[in-house]
Symmetry: C2
Subunit: 327 residues, 2 copies
DNA sequence: CTGTTAGCGCCTTCAG
DNA sequence: CTGAAGGCGCTAACAG
């Protein structure tokens, strides 16, 4: 691999001249530039990104940390992040936190490999984040609350969303409503549950614990929880799934038991994933402003990187998407 | 930001001792290690990843280059890549080639920022790849053919897949079959088309140019192409969409025109995306072994990185998934 | 077991 | 306009 030194030698100039020429400084004559460029091409010279980052002590790249690169859920969010970073000339890399403390994500967070990070990865512990938070290294948290001077949170209003979903069910005359939760400790699931309970309370309805099922945000989890619900006999008239994936699983469970949705039971989800409009029946759900969340996160990073102070908490609102799964 | 130097000073040892201690070398006594670790913690020391990469001249990370990080298509493939890289202790980052020559992907490819790359990004030109290909930098190409000593190709058998799809239609008594292609120059679309033509020929059927529509691999593209097909009057009895996304768009177009699938027209797609089993009717399609492709790509990289020679071309076979869109 | 030292490849003052 | 030189933070001989 040719280095800047080789180019200098071939072009017959000093190393610094090559550096200036390559970075298109005005202090170099066109003739010299041409000579240098020619030599560089001839040697198939590629600059070493690290060496230059090391010198400039900044990388111009932002990390988007996801719990699983293969997860289909993030595409809208990623788009928001991607577009803003691109138009501002920042590089973006995505990495996964699969593998816990050994994961690529943690490595990038801890070692000084990027200028900032956006985190949407429940499998990274608060601890790690706290350890990595430091002056001059903006971290945006999309999926949890965490008090620290150097992290800012962008949250979807899960509480209100949960409230709205539940109220929608109530307004359609459902009085007995089950809730299928996400995994334990999932902050967003909990907030949705709180909204659920509040809506029930405000309408003088009570919540039976037998209609609270633990899921895990996966399709299988929703399927399983629903099967249990069915096995219990005495179905509720409405079910609020803490996310759409689980609702899709639930739909399948109901279908297998010849229970008609929304004829026999109404269901509502959360997220508005792409699939939601294709299920049978199409899923009524709460839409998260994912693109906006991504774009906002990226904007906040840019502001911080340019030295501005930003608030430490932002809340985005949800929207009810009415389709056909509630009667 | 504290450096190794600061740690050394605080711990009262030499710089190299700190380095050894931090990398857990056996040559350092436990007592010294403890002292160093303590000092490091106190200063909230984080090693600078670049500096160390620069020194070792390797990064231990692989880039997965996608044309769009927000694309939903890659999840299976990514999973394959991710799992293999993780179990082998390599870091994986994904980056997008959106933005062409200025994109993050191109930067990573050209500058020496990763040890190897897997490319599935039609919007990166052959040129760039050729320029980046060099000894000691394995590149795996998933989406095109390109002759070079330093790149290896992993391809799905698009020809055979196209052949199988078409033959399936023919075996169900369809004689007039339309083909909706991908974007111009898309290598995979072209191969599928070749398979299509071959199947027709082998069954003594002829292919009318009026039943060849140009799409672009997007849902909208499929929708538009189908609308045109319908507007032409005189529908074919079968349509082969070069990918599932377009088939989903086509389904919508047919529905809007009250044309029943598969009653009035049979359709088949390619890819077997997640959505395919949820459409109405569920889509018959050709499944690509995406997970396998990803895992294979990663394995090939590992082999090359450890100095082994691998073949320069691998072909993976497809599978017909029969659902309900062909009668 | 620990310290000294010479770079990795690049950028950037500071003199010519 | 060009060249010499110092150093970014870290690793790995090599000496003690």
């Amino acid at each position: 691999m040719a280095t800047i030194k080789d180019v200098a030698k071939l072009a017959g100039v000093a190393i610094s001249t090559v550096s200036y020429a390559l970075n298109d400084s005005t202090r170099i004559s066109q003739a010299t530039k041409d000579k240098v460029l020619e030599a560089a091409k001839q040697l198939n010279y590629r600059k070493n990104g690290f060496a230059s980052d090391l010198k400039r002590t900044k990388t111009n790249t932002i990390a988007l940390i996801l719990s699983d690169l293969a997860g289909p859920f993030y595409s809208e969010l990623t788009k928001g992040v991607q577009e803003v970073s691109m138009t501002n000339g920042y590089d973006l890399i995505a990495c996964s936190s699969q593998g816990g403390p050994q994961s690529t994500a943690v490595k990038f967070l801890k070692e000084k490999r990027v200028d900032a990070a956006i985190i949407l990865a429940h499998n990274i512990s608060d601890d790690i984040i706290l350890q990595s938070a430091r002056k001059g290294f903006p971290i945006i948290l999309l999926d949890r609350q965490l008090e620290n001077d150097f992290v800012v949170q962008v949250e979807v209003d899960n509480y209100q969303g949960g409230y709205d979903a539940t109220e929608h069910l109530i307004q359609h005359d459902h009085k007995e409503i089950a809730f299928i939760s996400g995994p334990q400790n999932a902050h967003d699931s909990e907030m949705r549950f709180n909204g659920f309970k509040a809506a029930l309370r405000d309408h003088d309805l009570i919540h039976h614990t037998k209609w609270l099922m633990q899921g895990d945000f996966t399709r299988e989890g929703g399927y399983r929880a629903t099967k249990i619900l069915i096995a219990q006999g005495n179905l509720p008239s409405g079910v609020f799934y803490a996310n759409d994936e689980m609702a899709v699983g639930g739909l399948q469970a109901f279908r297998e038991n010849k229970i008609n949705v929304p004829g026999d039971v109404s269901i509502i989800g959360f997220d508005d994933i792409q699939l939601a409009e294709f299920t049978t029946p199409p899923l009524t759900t709460i839409k998260q402003p994912k693109y906006e969340a991504g774009a906002l996160a990226m904007h906040l990073i840019l502001q911080q990187l340019s030295g501005q102070i930003v608030n430490s908490y932002y809340k985005l609102s949800t929207e009810l998407i009415v389709r056909k799964s509630v009667k």
